[in-house]
């Protein structure tokens, strides 16, 4: 128990009497039914954009790694010509893989973020609002998507500056944005699901490290599936990152892709991720 004395009333600073609070006297009408989910998703995405507007440091620092991948790895392997790319320069082949990778790295931090929000009380406060847990997770997943799309724009610009022949067809670019959002939604939910299991930031950091590299190297981001050993091909088949990269390559470079399958897999993966993360969210609230 504290012994802190109460200060006299007159010592109050910056006091404003609520003379004009008519709006605060009536509760807003509840949104119900199907309109609730898009409203919550929009609210949480808006927060992500507002934060990025106030502080763009993360946007710039996160651009460094993909730039290095394209600049060093991409340019070197383009000269070596060791990886079969179906006739396109290796750096072109690599660019969609790096877009998917940088989006995944952003999304995989959402589990750490949700644990931080739990520790800071932000999560509890949101859970006490009329927001179903699935809507909160969906909102977070799409917020990760919004952030990843902004990151993807940065990588596309870097790739274009390095001479990668990308499409500028607006419809295909819209498709790219949709794929990046779906992929990030899945990876952020994967991360939030693990957060709901391990419950501590330190343990989650270990898991994050342990899964991101296998997901990246066990995909077609750097090399085609055909040249992988059989066991790695099996990993790649169940790895949503491979489907994301396949779609991005098809849309950005016009290489043969399985767009319907890719979209299908990513939609199902995102939906399963949202369901898993939502069901474990209650553990974080305890």
């Amino acid at each position: 128990m504290s012994e802190a004395p109460a200060a006299p009333l007159s010592a109050s600073a910056d006091r404003a009497r609520p003379q004009d609070i008519d709006l605060l006297l009536r509760a807003p009408r509840a949104r119900v039914g199907w309109r609730l989910l898009p409203a919550r998703v929009a609210a949480l995405c808006a927060v992500e954009l507002q934060k990025l507007r106030h502080d763009r440091t993360e946007l710039y620092t996160r651009a460094v790694q993909p730039a290095l991948w394209l600049l060093i790895f991409g340019q070197t392997f383009t000269r070596i010509k060791a990886i079969p790319t179906g006739g396109i320069p290796y750096i072109d082949y690599l660019a969609p893989g790096i877009i998917a990778q940088s989006a995944m790295f952003i999304a995989i931090f959402y589990g750490i973020q949700i644990i931080w929000e739990r520790d800071a009380g932000v999560l509890n406060k949101l859970l006490v609002t009329p927001t179903p847990r699935s809507a909160l997770i969906t909102g977070k997943a799409f917020a990760a998507g919004v952030k990843s799309v902004i990151q993807a724009v940065v990588v596309v610009v870097i790739a274009a500056l390095l001479g990668v022949a990308l499409t500028w067809n607006p419809l295909k670019l819209l498709g790219v944005a949709a794929i990046v959002v779906l992929g990030s939604a899945f990876f952020s939910c994967l991360s939030m699901t693990i957060a709901g299991i391990v419950l501590s930031r330190d343990r989650l950091m270990g898991f994050g490290q342990a899964i991101t590299m296998p997901l990246f190297f066990g995909s077609n981001a750097l090399y085609p599936v055909d040249i992988m050993p059989g066991w790695l091909q099996a990993v790649s088949k169940v790895n949503p990152l491979s489907y994301e990269v396949d779609a991005l390559r098809g849309l950005l470079l016009g290489t043969p892709a399985h767009l319907a399958l890719d979209f299908g897999v990513l939609i199902v993966a995102a939906a399963l991720g949202i369901a898993a993360a939502s069901s474990l969210l209650g553990r974080l609230a305890r």
Binding site: M1, L9, L24, A39, A120, V128
Partner: protein
Amino acid sequence: MTTDSTADAVACTGLAYAFGDTKAVDGLDLTVREGEVFGLLGPNGAGKTTAIRCVTTLLPVPSGMVRVFGHDAAGDRMAVRRLLGYVPQQLSADSGLTGRENVSLFARVFDVPRRERAARVGQALGAVGLTDAADRLAGTYSGGMVRRLELAQALVSAPRLLILDEPTIGLDPIARTGVWEHITAVREATGMTVLVTTHYMDEADQYCDRVGLMHRGRIRALGTPAELRQGLGERRRAEGAPATAPLPTLEDVFREVAGSGLDEQAGDFRDVRSTRRTAQRVG
């Protein structure tokens, strides 16, 4: 939404909640009447925060019954949440957003329509004296200002029950008074019910209409601060204390109720770490 207008703001009956073998709340019976400021007092580990978390629907209600304005906190969670404004113990405003954006997020998640959102957010910020600082990042606010911002976040949805968990922890006396004055002023203007937990007996004495002293998971004494102090004074005189003895304080009442052993059960590691972190961030 239909809400029983005759129901108490909060009614807990036989509420029990255990973390493993530790009974955090052990058969709590508690009624908070509509319109009052009710203080739930007790040391760390007394079960206050667990009880509050059951009322706010954050925790399930494994045993007993919790009703908020007649709505079952276990079964009708969304209806209960629409009636609540909640300020957790930690400093929970987002430091990467401005004050206005922080409040606006809560206006959005409580379905305030777009056409009145800006005005309502402005009124909530005005009610806590943050109009001038509204467009600064919350990360630049002082501890007292962050608390008032959180109050604005809770007020923007016009809650009927405002729940504050240790609202003044770690604040200097002037900031504490500032926070309480805003709570009191808003309560007077809106008639909302306030349920507050605190360690500070002096605050409870000054600002709460009724208090419940909680210890080892149950309410051990209940009444207005004056009733509790007078009751102890009378008991002491009956036991032979001189009439000239100083009047007991609420803290004396608490010591009598909780008895010895307060220090041994002062919360677990996570409680203490969280409290210290909050104190560090506001200080």
